[in-house]
Subunit: 234 residues, 2 copies
DNA sequence: TATGATAAGATGGTATACCATAAGATTGTC
DNA sequence: GACAATCTTATGGTATACCATCTTATCATA
């Protein structure tokens, strides 16, 4: 143990690690991942007893997990009709993209001003991962890699709370994002946009980073709106 | 029933209202209100059996409500130590104010551009309510009236999703807000700031509304930071 | 008087039972 | 064949039981 300064001894290092995962914690993770991984369709009913069978836990655990997901906006519950995977309507989706624009661009700006060199390198690596994910053609892989990129960006910007908000909002439009994320022409554009953002961050240009991020979100918002417009109603 | 246009008959008005409040719904509302109304202190343990007695419901209901509040960020649960009212640290509080600044100012701008005359009148009335609440000297009343004002503003701006985000973040710093909201000098300043914001909205000046809102949030953020700095740690 | 051991109480985690209500299936009648 | 009535099944809501673990209280010993 390193020598400590005079005064109150710092015993934080001594604290016993009591982290233990409950069944509920594990189940919440699995359900959230299953929803985000397109294992359930928006609108699909989440019948408690069916989930008990699939997950191998009691209804108590399932109900508590559903309450959590409900508060996160991933599940909606109609009284006496039961829970179902949430379906964001077009107006909500548009607002979510707008909020993302506000928060992501501000994070990009702050990232340019204060990110460590290590974080900037991590961002570059994350863009390479996104590129590789596009090659696989899998929306899942692209969304996962994109999420990793933004997590690095927000944390490097010193904005974990904003990241929580964006991640939560993105979860609500995950299915829509999944439908718009992978097309051949989108691959090239997306990577170019992200490299432009990264270049701005690397040269510590807050203004340009802000611009690049705002432009990127505006682009994906438009793609999503077009996609929604082409879907049958309901 | 009013006559309808040719085509698919609009039967929305005919739909049977099946809203029925569950015990869980009622309990969630009561618990949330109790936390926001300073009936529980940040860090205070929420013992399940104690809550059962106070609320008159079973542990099933209490546990599901705690899961919901946990996901909302109002409650934090340490494994095998149980739930407690959440305590936002200073860094989180600062980020919450920054996010509010981004979302509220954008909503103010949009409100100036598109709010109905009726909504603008409602905003004026809401400011009068805030003024009256300050006279009572009650932080609860001031926070309640302020929440009403912002709900009107966000809805008039057409941004219910952003309002959800702001309301949720505000809930997490409710106690801090309660500590900073009411002082004699704050009363005059706060009302002046809100009237300035309202005047900008009334004259449909998006830019000025944006500025007034951003300034207001910056002001309350600074007051909160000062207050936090004056508290003992822990 | 202080410390260690033991017992009792408190608490969160998880499972299951019971109930009311809604939905679906089946049967009977016109 | 269509519709109404009846029966059965499915489902969410709520309560309670049981268990393991942790905390607190009590007792014994040095």
């Amino acid at each position: 143990m390193v020598a400590m300064a005079q005064g109150t001894p710092d015993t934080a290092e001594m604290r016993v690690d009591r982290s233990v995962t409950t069944l509920r914690g594990l189940t919440l993770e699995k359900m959230r991942d299953a929803i985000l991984d397109f294992r359930f369709r928006p609108g699909e009913r989440l019948v408690e007893r069916t989930l008990c069978e699939r997950l191998g836990v009691s209804r108590s655990v399932v109900r508590e997990v559903l309450r959590h997901l409900e508060a996160e906006g991933l599940v909606e519950t109609i009284p006496h009709q039961g829970p179902a995977v949430a379906r964001p309507d077009p107006a909500q989706a548009a607002q979510i993209y707008e909020i993302r624009g506000l928060l992501e661009s501000e994070a990009a700006r702050a990232c340019a001003l204060q990110a460590s060199d290590a974080a900037i390198d991590e961002l570059a690596a994350a863009i390479d991962q996104i590129d590789a994910a596009f090659q696989t053609g899998s929306p899942r892989a692209v969304l996962k890699a994109t999420t990793d990129f933004y997590e690095i960006l927000f944390r490097a910007a010193g904005k974990p709370v904003a990241w929580e908000v964006v991640r939560s909002l993105n979860a609500r439009i995950n299915h829509l994002r999944g439908m718009t994320v992978v097309t051949p022409e989108r691959h090239a554009h997306a990577i170019a946009e992200m490299r432009a953002l990264h270049a701005a961050i690397r040269r510590r240009d807050g203004e340009a980073a802000w611009r690049a991020s705002a432009d990127h979100v505006a682009m994906v918002a438009r793609l999503a709106a077009e996609r929604l417009a082409s879907l049958p109603p309901g």
